[in-house]
């Protein structure tokens, strides 16, 4: 049954949707494998609104598509560092989450976040962290620093995995080097570049997909990873008699948070707001967490979460671990990041 929760599918969802009274539709545009079918069924049954789900693979795809003028979606789910971009580019409209009935359920730490200080545009969704995961059985000890990741010892040489896009990996390098995020200092960025170029010969793949596959079959011993994804990986590895551990290195981990937003030009704004209010209910968000494998921002949702996820080390940041949120970098530092990345991969 566990696996059903993780890879649960849309069995029967259309039957229920078809039976419900037609109260219009909601075009939800969300990350793949990130929308709980049970939660959607419940929403459709309660409201009679028909949900049409489409999926995308990255913030970049979402942004490029919205910039090019795509329409038809009522809810999109960008990450926190993209939220200010969507706002400043005029791609989203105000939702005024504070006026919603269930907004009171949101934990204080997720109210009025840095990326949307007045809570005008966003409703908080899952949050999590990025760090590295490793195979303790192959690595042989506990991973306590990014040192072994960026400057691998003989033991892990040639068996390192890195994300495909630079945002998180450059930030991990900043953490390791003790620098600020969104760095505009060319000399510090040069150090980041040197570090990543030196690491390259030991990298098996720059890919943000299939990290669990590579960890499990031993292609990589240490790889950059997201917490919820790593949680799923740990479960898969257990099936295959292997181990995967999500590390909380002493330098800290990178925090992220996704938000629900309504694009300009959405046709079903009211339905989108009904959905936003719906998801801020502890039971519904708990259901959603069970499927996605990530924690959420709603007070009391824990009691609706499966025990293994609720207590998973991946989603419960240890007391003594640092979690630092990245934010949207300005143009200058973004350009530096892109140049570093091009220089690494050319």
């Amino acid at each position: 049954m566990k696996t059903m929760t993780f890879f649960g599918l849309m069995a029967g969802s259309s039957l229920i949707a078809g039976a419900a009274m037609a109260e219009g539709t909601l075009n939800l545009y969300n990350w793949t494998d990130y929308t709980s079918p049970e939660m959607i069924d419940k929403f459709e049954a309660e409201t009679g609104i028909d949900v049409v789900l489409d999926t995308y693979d990255s913030n970049e795809t979402l942004l490029a598509k919205m910039q090019a003028g795509a329409t038809g979606y009522d809810i999109i789910v960008p990450s926190h560092n993209f939220v200010p971009i969507f706002i400043s580019e005029g791609l989203v409209q105000k939702v005024d989450a504070t006026q919603m009935e269930n907004f009171a359920n949101v934990q204080d730490r997720w109210k009025n976040p840095e990326w949307d200080p007045d809570q005008q545009y966003t409703v908080p969704f899952h949050w999590g962290s990025a760090s590295v995961s490793y195979r303790p059985d192959l690595y042989g000890k506990e991973l306590t620093s990014y040192g072994e990741y960026f400057e691998p010892s003989e033991n892990v040489k040639g068996r390192i995995g890195v994300f495909k896009t630079p945002e998180e990996i450059v930030n991990l390098a900043h953490l390791y080097l003790g620098q600020d995020f969104c760095n505009e200092n060319p000399e510090e960025m040069q150090k980041v570049q040197d570090l990543l170029v030196a690491q390259k010969p030991d990298v098996v793949a720059y890919s943000s997909e299939g990290m669990n596959d590579r960890l499990i079959n031993g292609d990589t011993i240490i790889t950059s990873h997201w917490n919820g994804y790593s949680f799923k990986g740990r479960k898969l590895a257990e099936e295959a008699g292997k181990e995967i551990t999500y590390a909380y290195p002493e330098e800290g981990v990178i925090g992220w948070s996704d938000s629900l937003m309504i694009p300009v030009g959405a046709e079903n704004v009211e339905n989108a707001k009904i959905f936003m209010n719906f998801i801020m209910d502890p039971k519904n968000m708990g259901m959603q967490s069970n499927f996605a494998g990530y924690g959420g921002p709603i007070e009391g949702q824990r009691e609706f979460m499966n025990a293994d996820l609720r207590d998973a080390p991946e989603i419960n940041v240890p007391e003594d671990a640092k979690m630092i949120f990245s934010f949207a970098c300005n143009e200058k530092s973004q350009k530096l990041i892109d140049r570093v990345w091009t220089n690494v991969l050319r």
Binding site: E60, L63, E89, K200, V204, L336
Partner: protein
């Protein structure tokens, strides 16, 4: 419907209209937009600012160092070279394998030929990503190729041949992906050859090889050219194989353009690379067309 328009020019125009119309509107205009984009300034978060700039083209050859000084940089040229090289290798592999197969099929009894062609296309009715993933299982660590080595004990339990995440894997992936694009056009041109005539002509030559190279190759040339173009050009812009099988370690043109449009959010630069790629292909085609025309004249004399 009994008769088509009798005026040949009118008939020609009408026949060309649908294809030209569709491509003209939905391809030529968008490409024009991209050409314009390549001369504009990048907006910080994707999109363009409407002011003229050649930055995108300057960026190809010169690099701003991290401290903003302009230095000549071979970085992108290396990427372009690598892409041409891999696409060329993929094209050659496809040709070397594809031609004999197309030839073999064209020599089969009539009713078997279409069957063979269908057999060749069937694997490609499954998704490209899934097929590419299957290659990971074949080439990868503890994969199907490595398995016998592990049994025999040549490879230790934690060793690998390192076939995956390499240029070799990219070449295999590209060849596999694009081979039907080589076989089908060659087959289409070989199939129409009248082999009794070919055989008669062949008697004029002293060896089979000579007959082959002087009769069959020239006659199937349109198919070979079509196949080579159909393989080479998409290979240049490919990015699934470099990403999934090559491990994304070295950028290719496809990944570079992709990167500029998505992650780096520099649309003008992405557009400029695309225009250069387009220009390279067009020049290549024009040289070929001129050479082909010259050769035809030679043959007439």
């Amino acid at each position: 419907m009994a008769n088509l328009p009798s005026n040949p020019a009118l008939r020609r125009t009408l026949s060309l209209a649908p294809a030209l119309g569709i491509i003209g509107i939905f391809m030529l205009i968008p490409v024009g937009i991209i050409a314009v984009f390549s001369f504009l300034e990048a907006k910080s978060f994707g999109g363009v600012v409407w002011s003229f700039s050649t930055d995108a083209y300057v960026q190809l050859l010169y690099e701003r160092a991290l401290d903003d000084s302009l230095i000549l940089s071979p970085g992108y040229l290396i990427i372009i070279w690598r892409s041409f090289l891999l696409a060329g290798i993929a094209m050659l592999c496809c040709l070397v394998v594809g031609f004999p197969v197309a030839y073999f099929i064209s020599r089969q009894p009539l009713q078997h030929r279409n069957m063979w062609i269908l057999l060749i296309t069937i694997p490609f009715w499954t998704n490209q990503l899934v097929r590419t993933f299957a290659w990971i299982i074949i080439l990868g660590r503890n994969g199907i190729i490595e398995a016998p080595f592990h049994w025999v004990g040549i490879l230790g339990s934690d060793d690998t041949l390192g076939l995956m995440y390499s240029n070799f894997a990219i070449a295999v992936g590209l060849t596999y992906t694009f081979i039907p694009l080589m076989v089908l056009p060659i087959y289409a041109s070989l199939e129409k050859l009248d082999f009794t005539l070919v055989e008669a002509a062949a008697d004029l030559y002293s060896s089979k090889w000579e007959a082959f190279s002087k009769v069959i190759i020239p006659l199937s040339k349109p198919g070979i050219i079509a196949g080579c173009l159909l393989v080479f050009i998409p290979s240049l812009g490919a990015f699934i194989q470099p990403d999934l099988l090559g491990g994304g370690k070295n950028m290719m043109l496809g990944t570079l353009v992709q990167f500029q449009f998505s992650t780096a959010r520099n649309w003008p630069f992405g557009a400029a690379i695309a225009m250069i790629l387009l220009a390279a292909v067009v020049i290549f085609l024009m040289i070929y067309a001129r050479a082909a025309r010259g050769q035809q004249k030679m043959e007439l004399h």
